[in-house]
Symmetry: C2
Subunit: 174 residues, 2 copies
DNA sequence: CCAGATCGTGACACCGGCGTAATTCCGCCG
DNA sequence: CGGCGGAATTACGCCGGTGTCACGATCTGG
């Protein structure tokens, strides 16, 4: 997964939940209530399949991390209104700053010091380094679905569940 | 209220809730579930009276501020396990830092820069300047109960509801 | 094509947190 | 002392969030 941003990679709902470390129920609820919907393919009835992109996984993991650190889901929803456009598939140098209900991604350390110095006490300032979020997603992909992790993106087409419905499953990875 | 730390000052439950800006229900729930109990006098049956100290008000206001900024009550409970001993009646130079479920009060700016620089990305770092918390409590006391605010602590004995049951009510302040 | 696996869906339950309202009881004051 | 005001208490409800389970529908692989 040295190049995790393969545009053809996608994950089933169950796999996404496993990788991110949340229950399927949570994933379903978040999708239904428009927090994080699957960007590759959405459900359109019982038995159909959601498909989540790698970027979706990062977003899901971010939500989980914020929840685990005591932030209300309601507030995370509000923050994502600001965040959605700023998130991409490389979070290794990014830090998330949330003040009140707004959120901004900071990518330069100077910028971060500036934000903290400009903090004048108006409410709580939340700070989260996103490299940990990304590395945990990457590690979970490698650990839970080694055929996706071991082979790298060059073999992504062979991976079960990773290439979308047009790709034949090369082995029973799931 | 230039000297807000008068040890004889106390507030009824309703007044405390008004000053802090929460519902009586919230105040009651937080007292019953041991988040912030009234330190001067606790309830011991229907019709009896809770009495909150000025310091209790600061704690209540801190809880409200954290809630308003999206922190879960459950996490605030955990943070207070660490915080209780560190809070006093002068928060003007203090900043609260919460990482994971632990919390620490920082009073020197150097110390704060140190904490932020030492932040290595393990979870969310929450930062809150407490001078705003305190000044809002002080302002609310002055605004809502001027006899307590206008006269200062020298006249606290004359204030309705501020001196405890042994003090006669000088005027219908409530 | 078909059987079985897997997925999404619906339903119900539980819990925490808090709103609303009625009731009971205490404390204060005349 | 008694009446009354106000406080705490109790009860029920709602909502968001999530756990658990059964069921129907779609998808996949042989």
């Amino acid at each position: 997964m040295s190049e995790p941003s393969s545009p053809v990679e996608s994950f089933s709902g169950k796999k996404a939940a496993d990788i991110v470390g949340i229950s399927y129920r949570q994933l379903d609820y978040w999708a239904r209530t428009d927090l994080i919907r699957p960007s590759v393919a959405d459900a359109h009835g019982s038995g159909t399949r959601r498909r989540y992109s790698y970027r979706d996984l990062l977003e899901l993991k971010l939500v989980k991390t914020l929840l685990d650190n005591g932030i209300k889901l309601e507030s995370i929803r509000k923050a994502f209104a600001y965040l959605r456009e700023q998130l991409n598939e490389d979070l290794s140098a990014a830090k998330l700053v949330m003040v009140g209900n707004s959120a901004v991604l900071v990518r330069e350390n100077d910028e971060l010091i500036d934000v903290v110095n400009r903090y004048q006490g108006q409410g709580v300032l939340n700070l989260l380094a996103l490299d940990g979020v990304q590395s945990e997603v990457d590690a979970a992909i490698v650990e839970l679905f080694p055929s996706e992790g071991d082979e790298g993106e060059a073999e992504a087409g062979d991976a079960d569940d990773a290439g979308g419905p047009a790709r034949p499953a090369a082995e029973g990875g799931s």
